[in-house]
Symmetry: none
Subunit: 204 residues, 4 copies
C-alpha cells in the first residue's frame, strides 16, 4: 500500500501534535487522546500510522537528535583550533538544551521509563560520543593524554555535559549558592573538559 499524500500529511500531523503535547505535558502525561485531539484526528486513526505510542516517540527523538548532532559537529568541521571548537560545541549544546528544554525533558523521561526507547536514545547519544572521541584522538596524536581510552573518555565527558545540563537547565540545579549564567556554565565545563584531556603526565 503506497501512502497517499493525504496519508503522509496525517502522519506528520500526529508527529507535530505529539511534539507539542510532550513539550506541554511531559512524556508520561502525553495521553494518546491529547495527541489525537491536538492533531485534529481520532485516536483510532493513529493506529493506521504507528504501532504504538512508543513508536511515535522514538521518531520524535530521532528528529531531535539529527538537529543536535549537526549543530555540535559543526565547530569541529570548520577548522577552528580544537580547543576553541570544543568551547563552541559546548556552548551550542548548552543553548540547544535551553531552547528545547521541554522536548528534552520528554525524551529523557521516556528513556528512563521505556526500555525500547532507552535503547534508541543511547544509540542517538553515540553520535555525540563519537564526535568527542575524535577530539580526544586528535589531542592524543599531538602527544596529549597518553593511554586514555578515547571512546570511553568521550563517553564520560559526554555524560558530564549531558547530565550537567539536565540538572541545571531542565531542573533547578544543585543546592549551591550561585546564579548560573551561560558564560560561567560553558567556561566551567570547557575548563574541566579541556584539562581532562590536555595533559601529558599521569596524575600520580
Amino acid at each position: 500500500m503506497k501512502p497517499t499524500a493525504k496519508g503522509r500529511a496525517t502522519r506528520q500531523a500526529f508527529l507535530d501534535a505529539a511534539r507539542r503535547v510532550v513539550v506541554r505535558n511531559g512524556y508520561l502525561n502525553a495521553r494518546l487522546s491529547d495527541i489525537a485531539d491536538e492533531a485534529g484526528k481520532s485516536m483510532a486513526s493513529f493506529y493506521n500510522y504507528f504501532d504504538s505510542k512508543e513508536a511515535l516517540l522514538a521518531e520524535l527523538a530521532k528528529d531531535f537528535d539529527a538537529e543536535l548532532q549537526a549543530l555540535v559537529a559543526e565547530p569541529f568541521r570548520q577548522g577552528l583550533p580544537a580547543i576553541d571548537a570544543l568551547r563552541e560545541a559546548i556552548r551550542l549544546f548548552y543553548r540547544h538544551y535551553q531552547r528545547r528544554t521541554p522536548e528534552i525533558v520528554g525524551i529523557v523521561q521516556a528513556s528512563m521509563i521505556d526500555e525500547n526507547f532507552a535503547k534508541e536514545w543511547r544509540q542517538i547519544r553515540t553520535n555525540g560520543v563519537h564526535t568527542l572521541a575524535r577530539f580526544v584522538r586528535n589531542a592524543q596524536r599531538d602527544g596529549w593524554a597518553p593511554g586514555l581510552h578515547p571512546e570511553l573518555a568521550a563517553s564520560a565527558l559526554s555524560s558530564m555535559l549531558e547530565h550537567f545540563c539536565w540538572v541545571w537547565i531542565a531542573h533547578d540545579g544543585d543546592a549551591i549558592e550561585i546564579e548560573l549564567s551561560e558564560d560561567v556554565a560553558v567556561d566551567t565545563l570547557w575548563t574541566l573538559m579541556a584539562h581532562a584531556v590536555y595533559w601529558r603526565t599521569d596524575p600520580a
Copy 2:
C-alpha cells in the same frame, strides 16, 4: 499511637518488600498490591504505616543515600593523599552503583515521575557535590585550578560520575567497542577528574 514490636516489624516488612518489588519491576510497575503480597500483608494494612506509595519510596531512597554518602566520604576522611582518596571514592561509588543497580533504577525512575520525590533526590545528590567541592577547594589551596568555581565544578564532575554509571552500569553503555571492567572504568573517571582539577594554567 505507640507502635509495638509487631507494628515495627510490619513496617519493616513493607520496606523490604517494596525494595524487592521495585528491584524486580521498576518503580512505575511497582504496584501496591505487589508490595503488599510480597510483604504477606493486606494493602489496607499498608496505610497504617505509610501515607502513600511515594512516602515509602522516599524512605527507601533516604536509606540508600545514607549508605552511599558514608561510603564515599570515608576515603577523604582517612587522611589519604587527596588524589588517592579521590580514586578510592570513585571506586566505592562505582561498586555501590553496581551492587544496588535495581534500586537505583527505581529511585531514578521515581524522581522522573514524582516532583516531590525529585526534590528529595536532588537534595540527596547535594551531599556528593559537597564532598567533591571540598576536594576542589583543597586542591586550590595548593595552587591548583585557580579561578575554578569549586561547587559548580563539583556539580559537573558529580554529573559525570553519576551519569557515566547510569549509562554503563544501569544500562548497556554507549555503543562503542569495549568490554568495560571496573578497573578501566574507575581509572578513566579518575584520570579525567584528576586532570580536570590538577592544573595550574588556563587551557588556552
Copy 3:
C-alpha cells in the same frame, strides 16, 4: 466528535439505567458498576458520555423538575378560579411525588451529599415558590392577606407541601393514627394553605 444514533442510544441507556438503579438502591448506594451493568455496558463506556456520576444525576434531576414544573403550573394557567387551581396543583404535586418517589429520594439524598447538586436543586425549588407567590399576590389584589410577604409566605407554604410529601410519601409518615388517602392529604393541605392566605384581619 459527532454522536451517532448508536451513541445517543447508549447515552440514553445510561440515563435510564441510572434512574432504575437510584430508584432501587438510593443515590448513595448507586454504584457506577451497577448502573453500567443495568445498561448492559462497561463502566469505561460511561465516561464517554458523562464526566462523572454526579453529572449524570444532575441530568436526571433536571428532567424530573421540568416535568414537575410544567405539571404544577398548568392549573393556574388554565383560568380556573385560583382556589380551585391551588387544589388541583397540590393534587398534581402529590401525585407526581407518589409516582416518582424513588427518584425523589435519590435526588434529595444527592442534594444532601453534594453541594453542587444541592445548589441546583434549590434553584429548581424556586420555580415552585414563584408559582405560589403569584397565587398569594393575586389574592392580595383582592384584599386578602394584607401585609403578608408574598414570596416569603410562598416559601413557607412550599416547604409545607414539599416536606409533608417527603414525610408521608417518601417515608412512613408521622407516628399518628391514620391511614392516609390522597384525598384526605390533598384536602388537608389545601384547607391549610387556602386559609393561610384567604383572610382579611390579623390573627390577634
Copy 4:
C-alpha cells in the same frame, strides 16, 4: 456487667466527641477515626460502648430532641392564650434551630441517608406534631377549623416550620429578594399557621 465510673466517662467522651465532629464535618464525613481521635480514645474502644456509628448518632439526636421539646412545649404549658403561645413556640423553635444549626445539619443528613436513623428521627419529630395537634384540638373545641384532622394538620404545619428553617437557616434560603430577620420569619410563619387553623367556614 455494671459499667464502672471510668466506663461511663469514656462513653460520654465518645458522645461529646461525636457531637463536635458531626458539627464540624457533617454526618457523612464523620469518620469513626475522627471521633475516636477527638475523644482521645482508640476506635476499638468505641465498640465497647456502641454497636455502630449509627447507634451513637441516634443517641445524639435523642439528646437534641429532648431539649427542643422541652423548649417548644413550654409556652403552651404556661397558660398563655393559645395564639400567643403558638407565636412564642415558633420563635423558640426558630432560635433553637439557629443556635444549633450544625448539629441539625448532621442529624438531618443522617436521617436522609440512614433508614434506621430516619425512623428514630421521625419518632422524635412526633413529639412536636403532638404539641401542635393539641393546639389544633383546643382551637376546634372553640369552634375553629371544623372537620380538620388535628394530627394530620399538625403534621403538615410541623413540616412547614421544620423545612422552612432548614431552607432559611441551614441553607441560603430560597432565591427571593429578602434579607430575612427573625421577626419577619416568625411573624410570617405565625400568621400562616394561625390563619390556617383559626377559621370557621370552608375556603370554597
